[in-house]
């Protein structure tokens, strides 16, 4: 699966362009992000709408077990702060197409564990 960032001005950024050119996750222009999408070849798996002030997070969470096929879970999240209160939503997209949703990262959850925030992702995802 690959991501696609669709902007408010109608332009977009593909993770991998048809030419094969690759774009980095950190290069997404978050200030004009309208949709963040996951695509499996030519099929759109999920599209997440963003509004001003909402912050994106995406990770490819990989589980490696010796002698077994690796498992990949795409975590897509957004958060915003409204009147000092933090709101989060996290979606897990599995390679078989299964989707699970939670309201926040959870330390003791098998796959909704918190991520390490990157510099380009803005402020910390605090409670």
């Amino acid at each position: 699966m690959q991501w696609k960032a669709v902007y408010t001005d109608g332009t977009y950024l593909d993770q991998i362009e048809p030419s094969g050119n690759k774009n980095a996750y950190k290069d997404i222009q978050r200030d004009k992000l309208k949709y963040f999408e996951l695509w499996d070849k030519d099929k759109r798996i999920i599209s997440l709408r963003f509004f001003k002030g909402q912050r994106l997070i995406w990770r490819r969470r990989t589980i490696l077990r010796t002698g077994q096929e690796k498992q990949v879970i795409h975590l897509i999240g957004k958060q915003e702060t409204v009147n000092g209160k933090n709101y989060q939503g996290i979606i897990a997209v599995f390679e078989d197409g299964r989707v699970e949703v939670t309201g926040k990262f959870e330390e003791d959850h098998p796959f909704f564990k918190p991520v390490v925030i990157h510099e380009d992702e803005g402020e910390e995802w605090n409670e």
Binding site: Q15, I16, K22, N23, A24, Y25, K26, D27, W58, R59, R60, R61, T62, I63, L64, R65, T66, G67, Q68, V72, L75, D108, H109, P110, F111, K113, V115, V116, H118
Partner: protein, 181 residues
């Protein structure tokens, strides 16, 4: 594309260690500082009293390909249930650097503790206490190829009640986040 990350078992001298890719295979913890999938020449002697040990097993992730992203948030865990069999336990913990395993080949490894392995971040504990809900966090991240993060080092502990022959097999898990293009 996702980063290509492999699980490596390190053996040999610290100056020139062998880093065997064990991602798609099993590895045996025997009484020798070597990787094998089915080796029996240096098995661990069942003790008449107390415990004998495997040589400790040094494992670490390696980023083999990556493009414009980061590998981080590394975790290590077990399935939470010791399935090795009667008289067999396994202890381990993270380590900041590589220390070659030592012991008496074909008999026992030296016990894994913070004296014999000074790179351990804490005393070894039952690895089955590290689960998906409560994993061991492995410090480290990488945006380029090469070894990444701390080691996870573990050791089999063989008691007098252990049976002869190979133990049942267990599967340990590495988990990481990746933003590679």
């Amino acid at each position: 594309m996702s980063a290509t990350v492999s699980i490596r078992r390190w053996t040999g001298s610290s100056g020139d260690p062998t880093k065997t890719d064990i991602t798609s295979i099993n590895t045996r913890a025997n009484a020798e500082d070597a990787h094998s999938t089915a080796g029996t020449s240096n098995s661990i002697l069942i003790p008449e009293a107390g415990s004998n040990y495997s040589y400790w097993v040094n494992t670490r992730l390696s980023v083999d390909t990556i493009s414009g992203g980061t590998v981080d948030n590394i975790k290590w865990y077990s399935d939470g249930s010791n399935g090795f069999g009667t008289g067999v336990t396994c202890v381990g913990n993270s380590a900041d650097d590589y220390v070659q395993a030592t012991g008496t080949p074909g008999e026992t490894g030296d016990v894994l503790n913070e004296t014999n392995n000074t790179e351990l971040t804490a005393a070894p504990t039952d690895v089955f206490g590290f689960t998906s809900a409560s994993p061991k966090s492995i410090t480290g991240s990488a945006s380029t190829t090469g070894d990444v993060g701390q080691f996870f080092v573990y050791q089999m502990v063989i008691g007098t009640t252990a049976g002869s022959g190979a133990t049942n097999q267990e599967t340990f898990t590495w988990q990481y986040d990746d933003t590679s293009s």
